[in-house]
């Protein structure tokens, strides 16, 4: 493991893209751009006062979520955090149904009953998000338990932030997953802050991945703004999980471009740190890298980006045009039949 600074990014050597399939790389880039544009649009709608609720944007963390989700099979399952739009899109949730959910519309992925904090879609393997820090880790382990018992070969991937690892539920989940060798990947998006609080204030060790040893499981800290590194690391962990090797803890170092949520200017972060990390913005970096590869041209990427813009615009139109739920919907789905 390369030595990384916990405050300032240290970008590892860039792996050559040649060994990777062009479709894969294109899909990666598209997903990252999709998330970026989605979040920027959401921000705009919020500023316009059109969008209800509260919003935690994932701008800047696209490489980690896309790298991770692309390393999974379609029927593998992820759990999402409060910062879940990117995770959901990365796993294949449609922008339409996500956008409609944020507007509380009947056509939303949760029929408008979840909202930003609870987005997800079981049909693409995204368990609707749980917004209580730490709560999803045992549940991810439980889905993995079912996969193991039912011998489906599926894997569960649990997303969480570095602020989460001081929570009891997280600890209990890692222990259980390890003791029962469950096919689960614990993926930490370490963006250095939980709301305004820097990781060094809440942990007396430097890296989250150091905690893996407490559970006898492998752990690694990687540069999270390179989707390829994340992809490879998660792929290996998923393979290990699928073949009965048990869980892995992966820590992706990354950074939020904005504050914790929409109304947070993030002023608690040192300017030097912000500037250094902003330079590592995963999207221009990956674009530049793709363009060094002869299989990609600027115009092709422009077309891709424009197509994404159209998708997002269509999603907004779809959401705005959709009906709000009937009032009787409030009484539905409390219990299953």
């Amino acid at each position: 493991m390369q030595e990384l600074s916990i405050r300032l990014p240290q970008i590892p050597d860039i792996a050559p893209l040649e060994p990777f399939d062009a479709d894969l790389l294109r899909a990666m880039y598209r997903q990252m751009v999709l998330i970026r544009q989605f979040e920027l649009k959401v921000n705009e709608l919020f500023l316009q006062g059109i969008m209800p609720g509260t919003i935690h944007l994932s701008l800047g963390q696209e490489a980690s979520v896309v790298g991770a989700c692309m390393a999974l099979e379609a029927d593998d399952v992820i759990t999402l955090t409060h910062r879940g739009h990117g995770q959901a899109l990365a796993k294949g949730l449609s922008a339409d149904s996500l956008m409609a959910e944020l507007f509380g519309k009947e056509t939303g992925c949760c029929r408008g009953k979840g909202g930003s904090l609870h987005v997800g879609d079981m049909s693409v393997g995204a368990l609707p998000a749980l917004a209580i820090v730490g709560a999803s880790s045992p549940i991810a382990a439980g889905m993995a338990f079912a996969f193991k018992r039912q011998e489906t070969g599926q894997v569960a991937l649990n997303f969480f932030g570095e602020g989460t690892v001081n929570k009891g539920d997280w600890h209990e989940a890692l222990n259980l997953a390890s003791v029962w060798k469950l096919p689960v990947v614990f993926l930490c998006e370490n963006n250095l802050y939980g709301v305004s609080t820097h990781i060094s204030e809440v942990m007396a060790i430097e890296y989250v991945a150091e905690r893996a040893s407490s559970y006898g499981m492998p752990g690694s800290t990687i540069y999270g703004n390179d989707p390829i590194i994340v992809f490879q690391t998660v792929m290996a962990a998923a393979q290990r999980a699928r073949s009965g090797g048990g869980p892995t803890l992966i820590e992706c170092l990354t950074y939020r471009r904005g504050g914790h949520k929409r109304d947070d200017p993030g002023a608690y972060r040192p300017r030097e740190e912000v500037e250094a990390w902003f330079k590592t913005d995963p999207i221009p970096a990956f674009r530049a890298r793709l363009l060094k590869d002869e299989r990609f041209s600027p115009s092709a990427l422009d077309v891709l980006e424009e197509a994404v813009t159209a998708t997002i615009d269509a999603a907004v139109d779809f959401a705005l045009a959709s009906d709000t739920p009937a009032l009787t919907a409030a009484l539905e789905f409390v219990y299953a039949d």
Binding site: K113, G120, L127, P128, G142, D169, F333, V334
Partner: protein, 346 residues
């Protein structure tokens, strides 16, 4: 579909304790459905109240799992397994330990279906020994009360072996989280031994049957006053009612059996006939399920009442250890009797 029978069949006279009835239920359900499994602390040796005794032999360690002491962890794990189509049963040593998993239950388990717009269902049974049994305040919670107001959960509090078996089988087949709360004194096991307690024994037919969740049962017919009681309090109330019968007072005793869904209609029908009601529960008086029932009576049946709604419950204190104090706090037969007689005077 099996028949629903609220009165036991008379084809045989087999008597079981509640824990025996529950074990029979869980075995039948595990045989019937491969997705059913049991997890909990020390359940390989039978668990605290012998609920899992013998399960390991029949179903093996893959379906009978000893957990670490990690309630939030294994409750969450069971939720995840349930989301993916399994039907976990969690055996708690004491229901009192569930509070360390409270968030998993009320925020995750109870709400995920709703928040997801119906995308998931969580069939999950919590086997929870409840109530006071001489172990001090931390082991004496009326667990059912604390979860009573949470939408998305069902809560069962059986008092007889017959009810326990039929309700447990329904709970396992239900597609929702069900808290199955049996009073610690009612299992018919004492520590790791079967106890010969008359209140815990009762007829259980050999043929399979289900009792639907949410249907109460009139345990004794009567015409002058309605007594609503569950769990251990049902037995105390029945004893009192039977004694009063011989003194010429006809009390009806209604066992709701489930707190959620609650068979309010059954109680109201009874009150309409008797025009008096006493509600008996073991938990603290403030915020008990009896308060909700009293509120519903005050709203829907106030015109039928000839007397105030009376509740018998523990005072608002933690449960003290000292046996004399514990029995002063938990409603006993004399308090129930006094309450009934007080109401009859009005």
């Amino acid at each position: 579909m099996l028949t629903d029978r609220t009165a036991p069949a008379q084809s045989s006279n087999r008597e079981l304790t509640i824990v025996q009835a529950l074990r029979e239920a869980v075995r039948e359900e595990m045989r019937r459905d491969e997705q059913v499994f049991v997890l909990g602390e020390d359940i390989r040796i039978g668990g605290s109240f012998l609920f899992t005794l013998g399960l390991l032999d029949e179903f093996g360690p893959e379906r009978v799992l000893n957990t670490p002491i990690s309630e939030a962890g294994f409750v969450g794990l069971a939720i995840g397994a349930a989301v993916q189509g399994m039907r976990p049963i969690i055996d708690f040593q004491y229901g009192d330990f569930i509070f360390t998993a409270f968030d998993q239950i009320i925020q995750q388990c109870a709400k995920l279906r709703y928040m997801s717009g119906g995308q998931v269902s969580i069939p999950l049974v919590f086997q929870l020994p409840t109530g006071a049994s001489g172990r001090g305040a931390q082991h004496a919670n009326s667990v059912e009360t604390i979860f009573f107001g949470i939408p998305g959960l069902k809560i069962v509090t059986p008092a007889t072996p017959y009810d326990a078996k039929g309700l447990f089988k329904s709970a396992v087949r239900d597609n929702n989280p069900v808290l199955f709360c049996v009073h610690k004194h009612l299992y018919g096991s004492k520590g790791r031994q079967l106890a010969k307690s008359s209140i815990s024994r009762g007829h259980v037919p050999e043929t399979e049957y289900l009792i639907p969740l949410g249907k109460g049962d009139i345990k004794k017919r009567g015409s002058e006053i309605t007594v609503v009681a569950n769990g251990q309090m049902l037995h105390r109330s029945l004893n009192v009612a039977e004694a009063l019968e011989s003194e010429g007072l006809s009390a009806e005793v209604v066992d709701p059996r489930c707190l959620v869904p609650f068979d309010t209609e059954l109680v109201i029908d009874s009150v309409v006939r008797t025009s008096r009601i006493v509600i008996v529960e073991e938990g603290n008086e403030r915020g008990g399920w009896g308060a909700q029932l009293a509120a519903e009576i005050a709203n829907r049946a106030i015109g039928y009442l000839d007397a105030p709604v009376l509740r018998v419950a523990s005072p608002n204190v933690p449960i003290p250890f000292s046996p004399v104090l514990e029995s002063a706090v938990i409603p006993g037969e004399s308090r129930i009797r006094s309450a009934i007689l007080e109401l009859m005077d009005q």
